[in-house]
Symmetry: C2
Subunit: 300 residues, 2 copies
Amino acid sequence: MTNRLLLKGKDVANGIYESIIPRIQVLKEKNIIPKLQVIIVGERPDSMMYVRMKKKKAESLGLITEIKYCSSDIGNTEMLELISDYNNDISIHGILVQLPLPIQLDTNNILDSVNPNKDVDGFHTTNFGSLALNQDQYGYFSPCTAVACLEFLDHYEINPRGKDVVIIGASRVIGLPVSLLLLNRRATITICHSATKNLKEKCQMADIIISACGKAQVIKGDWVKSDAIIIDVGINSIVVEEMINGELKIKKKMVGDVDFDDVREKCYAITPVPGGVGPVTIAVLMKHLVKSAELYYPTN
Amino acid sequence: MTNRLLLKGKDVANGIYESIIPRIQVLKEKNIIPKLQVIIVGERPDSMMYVRMKKKKAESLGLITEIKYCSSDIGNTEMLELISDYNNDISIHGILVQLPLPIQLDTNNILDSVNPNKDVDGFHTTNFGSLALNQDQYGYFSPCTAVACLEFLDHYEINPRGKDVVIIGASRVIGLPVSLLLLNRRATITICHSATKNLKEKCQMADIIISACGKAQVIKGDWVKSDAIIIDVGINSIVVEEMINGELKIKKKMVGDVDFDDVREKCYAITPVPGGVGPVTIAVLMKHLVKSAELYYPTN
């Protein structure tokens, strides 16, 4: 069907980049180059990959990224000292602690030690409070993946006001903040999670579904309305068998929470995985870094 | 029907008082008398009444309440100075700014100027962030009326985990914080408000309804399931005609958001108005004051 929409992460991300490139130029003319300080603990392959992707994108925009690699046995005190140094360094506009952190570290305490004005990931308690209270005048930061979901709606001119939105997952990274962002836009939100009953029936009534449950392909074609809009935040690795040159090979495949092939023709609009929310999340991070340089550190 | 429940505010409040009276005694033995500092601006009759009720209850428990009456034309600077003084006064354990404030005052800024550890009303941005992130270890305060709703569930041993809860109203005073408290207890929450469509149908599917929309008697008998639990936070004044000694008199009556007479026999449990959430809200405030004295100001 021609009137169905594939919501493309690349298009949304490019829209964001187009909006920030001239702002970066204005900052450069004032000799300000936004700088992101990343802290990565240990050598998780997924974390290493995400950090590399962020650095590469920042550099392509003329922004600076420094990466601090910490040993996986680093202690809380050392982490807090490191962050304190970065808080005090006026050349740094954004501080990003790559999650998850190893078990010996107090994640809440570490995230709350970042200066809220440099908290481009939006995980600080104060930023969460400002999000909950919709205190726009404070120019707070919200978690990038949650903002990315809203960027999809804005790019495709979908107004969530009054729409019934089902959010699957209630984490601080995505489910909770995207719920609050949507509530601030006057959507009617239903937050579902592992204790929720009748999830399928709830999805069947939703105008918009945002899934971040981290379970591969659980949302099927008969879960969705024909006019539903689906944003799939899940990134799950599954094993598939594939015939290559007449031989059966077993390989890994990245899929979302939504069974894309089954759902695509039954809903109105959907994001793919990969190529959906992922690239937009990075674009939002860059936008936050530029915002920090503009709003909080307008001189260097 | 005998198995229907009337959820009595007085019983819930008394349970709270029973739990805090020995704690007040322990504090007294350390020469600590919890003290609440109330600030009231102008002479709104409803605000004056609420403040009097809080003072009376505090005194009956042996707690101290000081009331600062401010002129209705007080400015932001003067308010902030006043609060700063109270923040620095170690004999004060809780600061309560009676809302609403007159239009010339910046309510957000004033509420955020209260030391979060003395914010017994739970309106500070940091306390909201802690609530959203469920940071129990911080001993944060949440808005009293929202906590009061949870006190009803606890008193009557109703576990919200996995239950479908419809919250009507998304204000910072009640709708939003009670939603977050219930989410932290693993309920499935749907937050409704003036932009919500099909509110009746949503209520018909709810295991628990918490109404704080401030519209008199909108929730009717055919809106609720027979096993629904209804907490009515609304306080609305309506005009009724009544025959007194053969004469038709017009008088004011206080009612909730729920049409009590119509709904009572059709649901499983319901709070009355008056006599429901109101008295429990005051009990929660007293509990918060005691908690502040125990947690943050254990020496005087």
